[in-house]
């Protein structure tokens, strides 16, 4: 069992719905974006392409962040999800330097979107976050425990995201990776990410 995700760049329109639904689901504070969408342009006028690439924790099979964590706060679940135990995190941020995908976020102190006016949503939601620790995407583990898909998968307008078991060759994501030429980011680093992209 190894949870993974396929992101179909042919379907993706770069709307950032995944970024925003991640904020809503996980009530992440300002500046903490577990999921971002970047654009990549290639070619010369008028032969130009620009594609959108959603980025988040790659849940690497060989996570460099885990190796450098001095307290054991970063750990890997048996299902492959790379997670952080906030109670053990001391905020040293070695993991942030180690992550080649730049997908970890340090919440120095709790801030609110409207400064001194925390919204009722933030008052409730930010109880889930600690100050002075690192956080990141956990594939919406609390949702998985309820039998739901990660929020970014469930909400994607174009159904660009598919979630499943990479170890099962019959799973939909394994098939998509095989049939549509799925690829990982920076495979040469040997991190073996659990997120695969399908060509645009």
């Amino acid at each position: 069992m190894r949870y993974g995700m396929v992101i179909d760049l042919k379907r993706c329109i770069g709307c950032t719905g995944c970024s925003v639904v991640c904020k809503a689901e996980n009530a992440t504070p300002p500046g903490v974006l577990w999921l971002r969408v970047i654009k990549h342009e290639s070619g010369k006028y008028p032969q130009v392409r620009r594609i959108s690439i959603p980025l988040q924790c790659m849940h690497c099979a060989e996570p460099p962040c885990l190796e450098v964590c001095p307290t054991g706060a970063t750990f890997q679940h048996p299902n492959g999800i790379v997670d952080i135990d906030a109670d053990k995190c001391v905020g040293c941020r070695y993991c942030m330097m180690a992550c080649p995908y730049d997908q970890r976020f340090f919440n120095a102190e709790m801030r609110y979107y409207f400064q001194e006016h925390p919204t009722p949503f933030e008052q409730v939601g930010y109880q889930r976050h600690q100050e002075g620790v690192v956080s990141k995407c956990n594939f919406c583990l609390p949702r998985l425990e309820k039998g739901l898909e990660p929020a970014c998968v469930a909400n994607c307008m174009t159904k660009a995201r598919t979630f499943g078991d990479l170890d099962n060759p019959l799973s939909e994501i394994s098939k998509l990776v095989r049939d549509r030429g799925g690829y990982q980011l920076y495979p040469e680093l040997g991190t073996n990410p659990s997120i695969y992209y399908l060509p645009a």
């Binding site: 379907r11 329109i13 006028y45 409730v124 159904k159």
Partner: protein, 858 residues
């Protein structure tokens, strides 16, 4: 105590209101706090998913900048940067003041009242329109978005598709020619549902060709991007038509004969030749070698080509005249206008024509239907120009000549034909034919559709719509006339504006000119925020947002999915009343009572909201907004499905039939290929304008398309100036979402969302580097706006492109008013009739600008 309270954990079905796509929601509320907004998986409209704006609504619901109490100004001086000096008043005082003003105006001349709204308040604005109608004013302005949408496009929607808007058939289309729309890429109608369906179409292999000055969100998803000079899409389309009809002879003769006026005989005066007895348009039957009325049952065939003599006069089928008319518009003619190589235009015409698969059929629900898997989409980008009418006509005819109109694979009206809710037969409309055989819409959002044309009247309205019946909705002339009614012989001045949720100061054109037109008007605003337009308000009422109010949102059929199922959602409050916020519909009902208009108002409600016996509103009772919504629901969907049922179930849906979605082959209506009635209508408009002493260029009222340069084109290359254009992005709706901090956060990541797209080489010539602050100075207004350069190869070298409508300055918008939060494009656009397409009253939205590196780099 708190610990003893039972934990509340509810999902409440309702409807989104951040744009006009009316997606169904389920809102998660825990102990009174909204913690998540999701798409309602039951809905056929958005199928359980949402765009970023839909998800972000929590942060607007709870934004501390929201207006919470009624306010009145204390500073008598009005200005775009002058603090009104707001003080809190009671609802009672506010309503007393408003009712007294309204009473006075209604006694004197009710036309002095103006209603302004936008398309994101699509539940409140139609109700306010009923209020305005009862009050006695014809003056309304969909100012927030109306003028920047598809004014001429909506006109042709009515004339050719019996609908407000169109979408490609996502299930069967194989070739989408997209002139600059965001269909399937996070904007335009039915945003979420179409994003899903068009993504499926991409995966199954639909080819998407985007013709657009900028490689923006729509063009990014295309298989091929063809950059074009702004305002020249009509020239591209004309050349394609010429190649199709005169070089390749690709057209759907069968469709043209039976579903258009292509066979109607036209005389040398440009008008139909009619039979003497019934005055019906004539066609030529080549089998019987004679003319016959178009509806004659003995017709054996319709001639599309040739030259005949009828009553001694030369008579030619409209199709022949079109073909002849197109001959000068070669790809070589279009190349220097559009900057698109002639070979490219020819190739695209050929691909489009081949892929239309004329003659082929498909079997759906056991019915054999024409299969024409090509569609042409265009909207604000291609038609928001001085040449709106004639360019739109050319773009529309591409779909018509290949017969891809409202058949499988083609372009579908949204939603032209409804056979009704099966249990009640309500919500039933079908396009019908008039005496000339031409199509009249079955349903239209305004009191009368553009065809048949209304009588040309003098200065009845404050926006020239009384004189120009072809304007389908909102008029680009309103601020011009409002600023100087005497010049247009309007016998009154607007004294009061009932302002329902639009930030018109920032969403039409030059805010200074808009300020001039509105500063002497007593303005009552239903507002979520003290935005820039409320700087001109006298009273601001705290509006309930879409998450806090009730409405039947069934009317916005343009965002009902084009295929699949009919789906009507309820909108209901998902939290208890916050502060003193109230729904505009509630407040309007109270004003109806205070003004003593109940009887007339209820009659209009019964008519406009289709409330039928036994649910009609009776004058001797007073109904709450809840009761009116309940009665409407019962009238449409049956006694079992009143408001309580909808509050629990959220929506009602039923399958669409093939003859509703692909209705054209089942219909006996014809659409114009030759817009014969435009010419006499234009003559009437000219006569009226001359009578009133108003200078109007009515020359665009003509039956066939051509291309005319916009003002910005005529200024070509002077001072090395560039074109400025703007476009929509999926993270923001018009100007209304810029204070949402989640949308702000994702917008900041995308350098185009808040910056200015400029071609790498164009920037280099001006010493501009990535991220530099640049100044964009408008040639027509002289105004300058500033933003950060986003260098790209993906833009026409003569163009800078600005996304959405940022650049807020209200001190009451703490997120949006910061530096670097986008630009307000409207500062660049002039207000004036020189900049308006007269037949459709479309505002031209491309301007000439000079671009330079800003002296100070903050």
């Amino acid at each position: 105590m708190a610990a003893n309270l039972a934990q509340e954990d509810r999902w409440i079905p309702t409807t989104c209101g951040v744009c006009y796509s009316v997606c169904a929601l389920q809102v998660h509320r825990v102990n009174g706090t909204v913690v998540k907004i999701e798409g309602n998986p039951d809905s056929a409209t958005n199928r359980g998913r949402l765009c970023p704006r839909g998800v972000s609504g929590i942060m607007t619901l709870y934004d501390p900048n929201r207006v919470n109490v009624p306010l009145k100004r204390t500073n008598p001086e009005k200005g775009l940067n002058t603090d009104p000096g707001w003080v809190q008043i009671t609802w009672e005082e506010a309503l007393d003041t408003i009712a007294a003003r309204l009473s006075k105006i209604r006694r004197e001349d009710p036309r002095k009242l103006l209603l302004t709204g936008t398309v994101t308040t699509q539940d409140e604005v139609p109700f306010a329109k009923i209020f305005a109608m009862t009050f006695g004013t014809p003056n309304g302005w969909n100012s927030g978005a109306g003028n920047h949408c598809g004014t001429a496009e909506h006109l042709f929607g009515a004339l050719l598709h019996a609908s407000w808007s169109k979408l490609p058939d996502p299930d069967h289309c194989r070739y989408l020619l997209n002139f600059g729309t965001g269909t399937g890429s996070g904007s335009y109608y039915c945003v979420t549902g179409m994003a899903q369906r068009i993504a499926e179409a991409r995966v199954r292999g639909m080819k998407h060709v985007a013709i657009d000055p900028f490689l923006g969100p729509g063009a990014e998803k295309a298989d091929e991007w063809i950059p074009i000079r702004p305002g020249t899409d009509g020239a591209f389309a004309l050349a394609m038509l010429n190649v199709l009809l005169n070089e390749l002879s690709i057209y759907d003769g069968d469709y043209l004969k039976h579903h258009t006026n292509a066979p109607y005989l036209i005389g040398d005066d440009g008008l139909y030749i009619r039979d003497a007895k019934q005055q019906l348009p004539l066609i030529w039957d080549p089998v019987d070698a004679g003319e016959k009325p178009f509806s004659d049952p003995t017709i054996k065939d319709f001639a599309l080509e040739g030259e005949y003599r009828v009553n001694g006069l030369r008579a030619r089928p409209a199709f022949t005249i079109l073909r002849e008319h197109l001959k000068p518009f070669t790809p070589e003619w279009a190349e220097p206008i559009t900057t698109v190589p002639a070979a490219t235009i020819r190739r695209i015409a050929n691909e489009f024509g081949q892929e239309a698969r004329i003659g082929s059929t498909i079997v759906l629900e056991g019915k054999v239907l024409p299969y024409r898997p090509v569609a042409v989409m265009y909207f604000k980008g291609a038609q928001g120009h001085k040449n709106a009418l004639l360019s739109s006509m050319a773009l529309e005819l591409l779909t018509e000549v290949v017969g891809a109109s409202n058949v499988p694979g083609g372009l579908l009206g949204m939603n032209s034909c409804s056979l009704g809710y099966p249990e009640t037969g309500q919500l039933k409309w079908t396009p019908k034919a008039d005496r000339d055989g031409l199509m009249v819409t079955g349903r239209w959002p305004n009191p009368s559709p553009p065809y048949p044309p209304r009588e040309v009247k003098g200065a009845e309205t404050i926006d020239l719509r009384g004189m120009i019946p072809t304007c389908p909705g909102s008029s680009g002339a309103l601020p011009v006339v409002m600023a100087d009614p005497e010049r247009f012989k309007v016998p009154y001045k607007i004294e009061m504006n009932l302002h329902v949720g639009s930030n018109y100061v920032m969403t039409f054109a030059n805010p200074k000119a808009i300020e001039e037109a509105f500063r002497n008007v007593f303005q009552v605003s239903f507002a979520l925020f003290l935005d820039e337009s409320t700087y001109l308000s006298d009273i601001v009422l705290p509006a309930a947002s879409y998450l806090e109010r009730l409405s039947h949102t069934a009317d916005w059929i343009s965002s009902n999915s084009p295929v699949g199922e009919w789906c009507y959602h309820v909108r209901q409050p998902v939290v208890g009343q916050i502060a003193e916020r109230r729904s505009a519909c509630d407040v309007l009902l109270e004003l109806v009572e205070r003004l003593g208009m109940r009887e007339e108002f209820y009659n209009f409600v019964n008519l406009m909201l289709e409330v039928k016996a036994p649910y009609t509103l009776e004058t001797d009772s007073r109904y709450s907004w809840e009761e009116i919504v309940d009665r409407r629901y019962k009238s449409l969907f049956g006694a079992e499905r009143g408001l309580e049922w909808f509050k629990e179930h959220g929506l009602v849906k039923w399958p669409k039939k093939a003859e509703e979605v692909y209705w054209k082959p089942f219909s006996h209506t014809r659409v114009p290929l030759y817009f014969e009635w435009f010419k006499p209508l234009g003559e009437k408009v000219r006569a009226m304008s001359e009578k009133l002493g108003i200078e109007l260029d009515t020359s665009a009222f003509q039956p066939l398309p051509e291309w005319r340069p916009c003002l910005s084109y005529k200024e070509n290359s002077r001072d090395h100036s560039l074109y400025a254009i703007y476009y929509k992005i999926p993270m923001q709706t018009f100007s209304g979402t810029y204070n949402n901090p989640w949308l702000d956060e994702v917008s900041k990541i995308d350098r185009f969302a808040y910056g200015v797209a400029i071609n790498t080489e164009t920037a280099r010539q001006r010493g501009i580097r990535e991220g530099d602050w640049i100044e964009i100075k408008s040639s027509p207004t002289g105004n300058t706006i500033r933003g950060q350069a986003a260098l790209t190869e993906g833009i026409h070298p003569e163009v800078v492109a600005i996304a959405g409508c940022g650049g807020h300055w209200s001190k009451y918008l703490s997120v949006a008013n910061q530096d670097g939060k986008g630009l307000c494009f409207e500062w660049l656009m002039p207000v004036g009739l020189d900049n308006v397409d007269i037949p459709s009253l479309t505002q031209d939205q491309c301007v000439r600008v000079t671009v330079s590196k800003a002296r100070a780099q903050p």
